[in-house]
């Protein structure tokens, strides 16, 4: 159906052009002289990519992202595996998981600041708070969803607990685990952005503050756009990895 793919993208381009057009109209007729036009945003984006400060800020911000995400995975997956495998642990953790899933992390950020200050450790911790529970939940769901009949089958051939883990449970739960890692990445990015915007210690948050302080709204928009691009890029990459590793399973992720 080649022709329809082309047509789809034509439609999407149309929508994009319409959106840009509406934006231009909005900018022109708004009283707010700070609003940048599409052209201004594009050129600002270009300048941003050429600016060393941007890459430095990106690097600093992403430290929290990387470390926080890694920590979330290290904490979240084992927790999820245990909760999936052992009923009593599941029951014990269940109410807390429900709370943690529903709980907005943002109001707790001041408390983390009181406890850990404004440095890298508090930024990393906040990212972990945003992300780890989703990794846990999906891992646990993955383990639970491994067909009981497969485990029974393995038992009937005399498999030991560790063999069951290695050959049935982990491979079976892998798609869900990877889905959890994808969602956790998204949440980590959210955490990083919240950190940047609230703590404004260094990195992109500081940059945004500088730009808006100097009324350089085109650069503000460009920076935001850069973050959006990074988020979409990372998540798309993660999705591709997920599909490669776990393409055989139907998608039933949580979050």
């Amino acid at each position: 159906m080649k022709s329809s793919v082309g047509r789809d993208w034509a439609l999407r381009l149309l929508v994009f052009s319409a959106a840009v057009g509406l934006w231009e109209l909005f900018v022109r007729y708004s009283q707010n002289f700070l609003l940048p036009s599409f052209a201004e945003i594009s050129s600002a984006l270009f300048r941003l990519f050429l600016d060393g400060r941007f890459w430095k800020a990106l690097y600093i911000s992403n430290q929290a992202l990387l470390l926080g995400y890694a920590a979330s995975v290290v904490v979240g997956i084992p927790l999820g595996l245990l909760a999936g495998r052992f009923r009593w642990m599941d029951r014990l953790l269940n109410p807390y998981v429900g709370v943690l899933l529903a709980m907005p992390v943002a109001p707790l950020i001041p408390i983390v600041i009181i406890a850990l200050g404004l440095g890298l450790s508090s930024r990393v911790f906040i990212v972990v708070l945003f992300a780890f529970i989703f990794i846990t939940v999906n891992t646990r769901a993955g383990v639970r969803n491994v067909e009981a009949s497969l485990i029974e089958m393995a038992r009937s051939f005399g498999a030991s607990e560790s063999q069951i883990w290695r050959r049935i449970v982990i491979p079976g739960a892998l798609p869900a685990i990877f889905a959890g890692m994808r969602i956790g990445l998204g949440r980590s990015i959210t955490g990083m952005v919240m950190v940047e915007l609230l703590l404004v210690a260094s990195g992109l948050g500081r940059l945004l503050l500088e730009f808006s302080g100097r009324m350089q709204s085109d650069l503000v928009f460009a920076t935001v756009l850069a973050v959006i691009i990074e988020a979409i890029a990372l998540l798309t990459a993660m999705q591709a990895i997920e599909r490669r590793i776990a393409g055989w399973a139907p998608d039933s992720s949580i979050g």
Partner: protein, 273 residues
């Protein structure tokens, strides 16, 4: 999150305990009892640690509860709570309107879906809070900025679920209706609408949760009114007790609104298998 994913998430969220927040409506008294016990146990540990460790950032659970009661009694937070909730209702209302209409259009017309799916998906996956500086630039320090953030937070999950809801209506039901001579508008009203209700409600539930997060996240950033402003203020005063209490208030709002939607959901979709 593609359509099938959204559908499955939605279906999961109806039945998985981990999504039915604590004290879900459909579970046995015994299960609820066990969970309450677990929560009480946690509160007890918190209490002991709070007194024992004497950390500035970990006040005992009882002190937090005390602060919460103080709020309620003295009406300190009433004004802030009021403006938070106002923003929530308005923002979520807008999300519903945008989300349901857009989702219905995308579900019904392939061309609309193909034109917009890339953007909806992109907006859904990227961290919604990132739009805060943009809304701040457009609307300044105002209610409009807060409400816009809530809209961005919750609209897209509603769109995706609504689209999937309409697309995954059992085709044999549609065929059955046509075999009896139904016209397009009759099929929409008599088959598509009722059949898509469960997933649409799931989307609304998820959207509600997102809206509450959008409310508080937005208020922490554009912090001139609402609970977020309070949290920032108490944080600046290093008053961990009061910050925890505010966090509790937000949690309660989240649980309560979720419970409301669950009630509505069950009222309208008790027929689901």
């Amino acid at each position: 999150m593609k359509q099938e994913t959204a559908a499955k998430v939605a279906v999961e969220s109806r039945s998985t305990p981990w999504f039915n927040l604590p004290l879900g409506l459909r579970r046995s008294a015994r299960e609820n009892g066990l969970e309450i016990l677990a929560l009480l146990g946690g509160a007890a540990i918190w209490e002991v640690l709070g007194w024992g460790l004497g950390l500035q950032w970990l006040p005992p659970f009882s002190k937090v509860m005390e602060a919460l009661l103080q709020f309620v009694r003295s009406g300190t937070i009433l004004a802030n709570l009021g403006s938070s909730l106002q923003g929530l209702v308005f923002g979520f209302g807008l999300s519903l309107v945008f989300g349901l209409i857009l989702g219905a259009l995308m579900g019904r017309y392939r061309a609309v879906e193909k034109a917009l799916d890339v953007y909806v998906h992109a907006l859904f996956v990227c961290p919604s809070i990132v739009f805060a500086p943009i809304f701040f630039a457009i609307f300044g320090l105002s209610d409009a900025a807060r409400i816009a953030i809530i809209v961005v937070y919750s609209t897209f999950v509603i769109v995706i679920n609504t689209t999937t809801a309409i697309r995954t209506v059992d085709p044999s039901l549609v065929e059955m209706a046509r075999s009896f001579g139904c016209r397009e508008h009759q099929i929409f009203a008599r088959i598509l609408l009722p059949a898509s209700l469960p997933l649409v409600f799931a989307g609304i539930r998820l959207g509600m949760g997102r809206a509450v997060k959008g409310m508080i996240n937005g208020e922490m950033l554009i912090a001139f009114v609402g609970l977020g402003a309070l949290a920032q203020r108490y944080g600046a005063q290093f008053d961990a007790t009061k910050v925890f209490a505010i966090a509790m208030v937000v949690l309660i709002i989240g649980l309560f609104t979720n419970w409301l939607i669950q009630i509505l959901d069950q009222r309208f979709t008790s027929w689901v298998n």
